[in-house]
C-alpha cells in the first residue's frame, strides 16, 4: 500500500480561521493573501475537535467497525453517534501510555471483526496515541492482510488543528480508501450525493434528483459497501454541505476522476432551484422549471441572528432575506478560503454586518446576543437554549432540516411559532447568569488575540 499523503490541517490547507469578530472585507483580503493570521483565545471553552467530527462521519457508515485507540473517554461521543454500532475503545491505562499499546490495538480489532464481521475497520487515533507515537499505520497494514478487509488508519489527534473540520478531512482521507477503481463504464445517471447528515431535508432532495431520472448514491452517511463500490462510476459528485464533504468530493475527483460539482447548499427556494437545475444540466437532463415559494409566513420587520457552519450560515442568511427578515448577526464555526466567494457576496450585500467566528464558545455568543438583541435567533440547540435564557425567542434547526423546498416552509413555520408564543423564553430569561456582569461590558472578542510567534 502506498504511503498516504500527510493530512494537512485546515489552517495550512485552506488558511482556516477559528476566532474572529469584525468586518468581512479585511477578512477576505487576509484569506486572499494566503497568509491568515493565527488568532487564539486567551480564555476559551471546550470546543469540538477533529476526532469528534471524524467519529460523527465514520459512525454513520453501514457495516463498518470503529476502534478508537486511546483512553475510554475518547470514544464517548460514539454513545451518541452510534449507540448500536460496531465500535470499541482500546481503553488505555497509564501503563499503556508509557509502554505503548500496539498489541492491545491489534487484539481489539481482531475481536471486533470476529464479533461483527464488518467489511472495513477504521482505527481512530487520539491525543494519547499522537503523543506516545503508537504506530497505527503498521498495525493497520498487518491487520488488513491478516483479516482480508480494509483496516484503515484515521489521522486524528485532537490538538494539531484548532479547526474541528479538519476531522472531516481525516474521515474523507480514510473513506476514500474504501472506494475501488471503477470496473464498469461511468454511469451518466449516477450521482454521488455527499452528506454527513441525513434527515427529511436530504431525503426530499434525493427525491428531487430521482425525479430527474438520476440514481442517487449517498456518501458517506448511511452508505454501505455497495455505495462505496459504485462511487467511482458516478457521473459526478455533489455536496449539500461543502464544509463537511468537499474534501471527499475533491478526493473522488483526484483519485477516480469523478468531477465535483461545486454548488452552494440548497437552502432556500432559489438555491434549491439552482441546485437541482445545475445537476440536471451537468447530467444532460432537462432542466426543470423550478418552483416559486408562496403562502409562507414571513419574517417581515424581524431582526434575526443566525449561527451555523459557514456554508449553511451564508445560505441561511440569504433565506432570512428571502423571508423578508433583516439579518443582524451571523456566526460561523470557522472560515477558510473556500468561503471567499460567499464572503465577497456577503460584504457587498451587507457591508456593515460583522462576522463572528467561533466553534462553541458560548460566552462570546452570550455577550454578542445581548448586544444584538435580535427578535429571533436561529442556530443549534445549545445556542438556541442560550439565546432563550437571554430572553431572545429562538429556534433550533439542523442543517439537514433547512435543505430543499420544504426547508423554507419548515423554517418559516418554526420561526412563526417561536415569535408567536414566547412563554418558555420568558420563563427561562432572568435565571442565574453564568458570567460576571463585567464580561458584558467588554467586547465579545476581548479574548481573541493575534498569536505572538
Amino acid at each position: 500500500m502506498a504511503r498516504l499523503p500527510h493530512l494537512l490541517i485546515r489552517e495550512k490547507r485552506l488558511g482556516a480561521i477559528g476566532a474572529y469578530l469584525g468586518d468581512v472585507a479585511p477578512l477576505v483580503a487576509e484569506l486572499l493573501s494566503g497568509q491568515s493570521a493565527d488568532r487564539i483565545r486567551t480564555f476559551a471553552q471546550s470546543a469540538p475537535d477533529d476526532l469528534i467530527r471524524a467519529l460523527a462521519v465514520l459512525g454513520a457508515i453501514r457495516g463498518t467497525a470503529i476502534v478508537v485507540h486511546g483512553a475510554r473517554g475518547c470514544s464517548a461521543a460514539l454513545t451518541r453517534f452510534a449507540p448500536q454500532g460496531a465500535w470499541a475503545v482500546t481503553n488505555l491505562d497509564q501503563r499503556d501510555t508509557i509502554l505503548g499499546s500496539e498489541t492491545i490495538l491489534s487484539d481489539t480489532v481482531r475481536a471486533l471483526v470476529r464479533r461483527h464481521r464488518p467489511w472495513a475497520v477504521f482505527i481512530v487515533a487520539t491525543p494519547v496515541i499522537a503523543i506516545n507515537n503508537d504506530d497505527i499505520r503498521a498495525a493497520a497494514l498487518e491487520l488488513s492482510e491478516e483479516l482480508d478487509i480494509p483496516v484503515i488508519e484515521v489521522r486524528t489527534d485532537g490538538f494539531r488543528s484548532r479547526i474541528a473540520a479538519t476531522g472531516f478531512d481525516a474521515a474523507a482521507q480514510a473513506v476514500l480508501q474504501l472506494v475501488p477503481p471503477a470496473e464498469q463504464a461511468r454511469r451518466d445517471d449516477l450521482v454521488n450525493l455527499l452528506a454527513t447528515q441525513a434527515g427529511p431535508g436530504l431525503v426530499a432532495l434525493e427525491r428531487e434528483l430521482q425525479s430527474l431520472g438520476l440514481t442517487v448514491n449517498r456518501l458517506p452517511h448511511a452508505a454501505d459497501a455497495e455505495g462505496f463500490r459504485r462511487a467511482a462510476t458516478a457521473a459526478l459528485s455533489v455536496t449539500v454541505d461543502p464544509d463537511s464533504t468537499a474534501a471527499l468530493g475533491d478526493g473522488l475527483a483526484a483519485v477516480h476522476g469523478v468531477p465535483l460539482l461545486r454548488l452552494p447548499p440548497p437552502v432556500g427556494t432559489a438555491a434549491t432551484n439552482h441546485f437541482v437545475a445545475a445537476i440536471a444540466a451537468a447530467t444532460g437532463r432537462t432542466v426543470p422549471a423550478g418552483i416559486e415559494a408562496s403562502g409562507l409566513e414571513t419574517l417581515s420587520g424581524r431582526r434575526v441572528a443566525v449561527a451555523a457552519a459557514p456554508a449553511t450560515a451564508f445560505a441561511l442568511g440569504d433565506l432570512i432575506v428571502e423571508l423578508e427578515g433583516e439579518l443582524v448577526g451571523i456566526s460561523v464555526d470557522h472560515i477558510d478560503r473556500t468561503h471567499i466567494g460567499a464572503l465577497q457576496d456577503f460584504a457587498v450585500k451587507r457591508p456593515d454586518l460583522p462576522l463572528h467566528v467561533a466553534d462553541g464558545q458560548p460566552f462570546e455568543h452570550a455577550n454578542r446576543l445581548r448586544r444584538l438583541a435580535p427578535d429571533l435567533f436561529i442556530g443549534p440547540a445549545d445556542l438556541a437554549a442560550l439565546a432563550a435564557r437571554s430572553g431572545i425567542p429562538a429556534l433550533s434547526i439542523d442543517a439537514d432540516e433547512l435543505l430543499g423546498y420544504r426547508g423554507v416552509a419548515r423554517l418559516a413555520r418554526r420561526a412563526s411559532r417561536a415569535l408567536g408564543n414566547t412563554a418558555l423564553v420568558q420563563r427561562l430569561a432572568g435565571g442565574r447568569g453564568d458570567y460576571q456582569p463585567g464580561w458584558f461590558k467588554r467586547s465579545p472578542d476581548w479574548y481573541i488575540k493575534l498569536e505572538v510567534k
Binding site: T42, D49, G73, A76, Y435
Partner: protein
C-alpha cells in the same frame, strides 16, 4: 494493561469529574486538556444521563491545548486560562481537572494552582486524566480531591448540623436519572425528619460542598461513594453507612431508612408514621394495578444490566415484590473486587461485566423475557424479540420527577412495566 471495551457505556475519569463539578452550582470546572475532552463528555451526556443533557454546565472553560503546548508545555496557557476564567465566570471555587495530554507532557498543574491560591483565590486541582479510569472513578477522584484540600472548606465548617446526611455514590450524568434519584432520597430522608446534603442540583451547591464535614452521617449508595466517605471519616470523623445500591420499592426503602434512623441520635420521632404511610401507599397502588399486571404476564424472567447504583435494587424489587425470576443481574460499572461480594449478596445470576459484546452474549443465553438495561441493549433485545426498559446510561429516557430508587422508583418501574404491555 488496558482491557478493551466494545460500546463503552462510561466516559473517562475526566468526564466523571467534570460531570460532578458541573453539577455543583458555584463550582467552576476548568479543563486543562485538548479542546475535545469537554465536548466528548457533552456528547455522551446528550446520549443520555436520564436528564439534563446539559449544554450550559458542560460548556466549560478549557485550556484547549494545541500542538505548540504539547511540544513546549501548557503551563503558561493554563495560567492565562485560570486568570481569565476567574475574571469572567461567575463561580466561587475553581477546580482544575487535568486531562491525558496535560499529564503526559508533565505540566505542573499543582504548582500553577498553588500560585492561584497564594493570591487568595479558591482553586484546587485534581488529576483526572482519562487513562486513570472510568467516569465513576472520576467522581470518586473529584470528591476525594475536594475533601483532601483545605481551600474547599474555607471558611472552616462549623459544628455538626443535627440530622444532616451526606448522600454519596450517585454520579451526575453517568448514573441514570441521577437528579431524580437524589430528589427521592432527599424526600425520603425528610420523611423521617432528616436533611439530605445531596451536593448536586437545585438543593446543592458550593454551600453543600462546604457542609460535607458538618453531617451526622454519610449515606453511601454505591461503591463510588465509599472512598469519599472514608476520607470524610478520616478527616472530619463523620461515620458512614454503606448500602448496596439504591433501594427500589417500599420494602427496601423502609429497611434503608430504619438503618439510617438507627444511626442518628436522637432517633427521629416521626420516622415510623412516615414509613407506615409510604408502605400503605405502595400496597394500595399495587392492589390497584393487580389486574393490569395479570393481563400482562404478571411474572416474567428478567435480566438487569445496570451499574451498582441500580442493579441490586431493581433485581430485588422485581423478585421480592413482583415475584419475577432473575436470569441475569449484570453489574456494569466495574466496582472494586472487595465490594463485589456485598453487591452480589442474595442476588441470583450476578456477573460483573462492562463489555457490551460480552453482555449481549450473556443475554442471548439467559432466557430472559425482558431486559432492564441501557439503550445499548436495544439491538440484542430486538434480536431476541423481548422488551427493553431503559434503566441505565445511555438512555433516551428523561426522568425529572421519579427515577428508579425509593418509594416512587418502585412505582415508576411498575408504570413502565404496564406501559410495555
Amino acid at each position: 494493561m488496558a482491557i478493551p471495551l466494545t460500546r463503552s457505556r462510561s466516559g473517562c475519569a475526566l468526564h466523571g469529574a467534570l460531570f460532578t463539578a458541573a453539577a455543583i452550582d458555584g463550582v467552576t470546572p476548568l479543563l486543562h486538556s485538548t479542546p475535545g475532552c469537554g465536548v466528548q463528555a457533552y456528547q455522551s451526556a446528550l446520549a443520555g444521563g436520564g436528564c439534563l443533557g446539559d449544554d450550559r454546565r458542560l460548556a466549560v472553560p478549557s485550556s484547549n491545548l494545541s500542538e505548540k503546548h504539547i511540544v513546549f508545555g501548557g503551563g503558561s496557557r493554563l495560567r492565562e486560562q485560570v486568570k481569565n476564567a476567574i475574571g469572567l465566570v461567575d463561580g466561587e471555587l475553581t477546580v482544575v481537572l487535568s486531562g491525558c495530554p496535560a499529564e503526559m507532557i508533565g505540566d505542573d498543574v499543582a504548582a500553577m494552582v498553588q500560585d492561584v491560591r497564594n493570591q487568595g483565590e479558591p482553586a484546587i486541582e485534581i488529576a483526572t486524566a482519562g487513562f486513570r479510569g472510568s467516569a465513576y472513578q472520576g467522581y470518586e477522584a473529584f470528591l476525594k480531591g475536594v475533601i483532601a484540600q483545605r481551600v474547599a472548606f474555607d471558611p472552616a465548617p462549623g459544628g455538626t448540623r443535627v440530622s444532616l446526611v451526606n448522600i454519596l455514590g450517585i454520579v451526575p450524568q453517568q448514573d441514570a436519572f441521577w437528579l431524580a434519584e437524589l430528589d427521592e432520597l432527599s424526600r425520603m430522608l425528610a420523611g423521617i425528619g432528616l436533611h439530605a446534603n445531596s451536593l448536586f442540583g437545585p438543593d446543592g451547591g458550593v454551600d453543600s460542598l462546604r457542609a460535607l464535614p458538618q453531617a451526622e452521617l454519610s449515606l453511601v449508595v454505591s461503591p463510588w461513594g465509599l472512598e469519599p466517605a472514608r476520607a470524610l471519616q478520616s478527616r472530619f470523623g463523620i461515620p458512614w453507612l454503606q448500602v448496596t445500591g439504591l433501594p427500589v420499592g417500599a420494602d427496601a426503602s423502609v429497611d434503608l431508612l430504619r438503618r439510617v434512623a438507627g444511626l442518628i441520635s436522637p432517633r427521629p420521632a416521626e420516622a415510623e408514621s412516615y414509613l407506615a404511610k409510604e408502605i400503605r401507599r405502595e400496597a394500595y397502588l399495587l392492589d390497584a394495578v393487580a389486574e393490569a399486571l395479570y393481563r400482562r404476564q404478571a411474572q416474567r424472567d428478567f435480566a438487569v444490566v445496570a451499574p451498582s447504583l441500580h442493579a441490586a435494587g431493581l433485581s430485588r424489587f422485581l423478585t421480592e415484590t413482583l415475584g419475577w425470576t432473575a436470569r441475569a443481574t449484570l453489574i456494569t460499572d466495574d466496582p472494586a473486587p472487595e465490594v463485589r461480594d456485598a453487591l452480589a449478596e442474595s442476588l441470583a445470576e450476578v456477573q460483573f461485566i462492562e463489555d457490551a459484546g460480552g453482555i449481549d452474549d450473556i443475554l442471548r443465553g439467559s432466557g430472559a423475557e425482558i431486559v432492564l438495561g441501557s439503550a445499548i441493549e436495544r439491538s440484542v433485545a430486538d434480536e431476541l424479540g423481548i422488551p427493553l426498559i431503559e434503566v441505565a446510561v445511555p438512555t433516551g429516557k428523561h426522568r425529572l420527577v421519579a427515577g428508579l430508587g425509593g418509594f416512587r422508583g418502585g412505582l415508576a418501574l411498575i408504570e413502565q412495566i404496564l406501559a410495555i404491555g
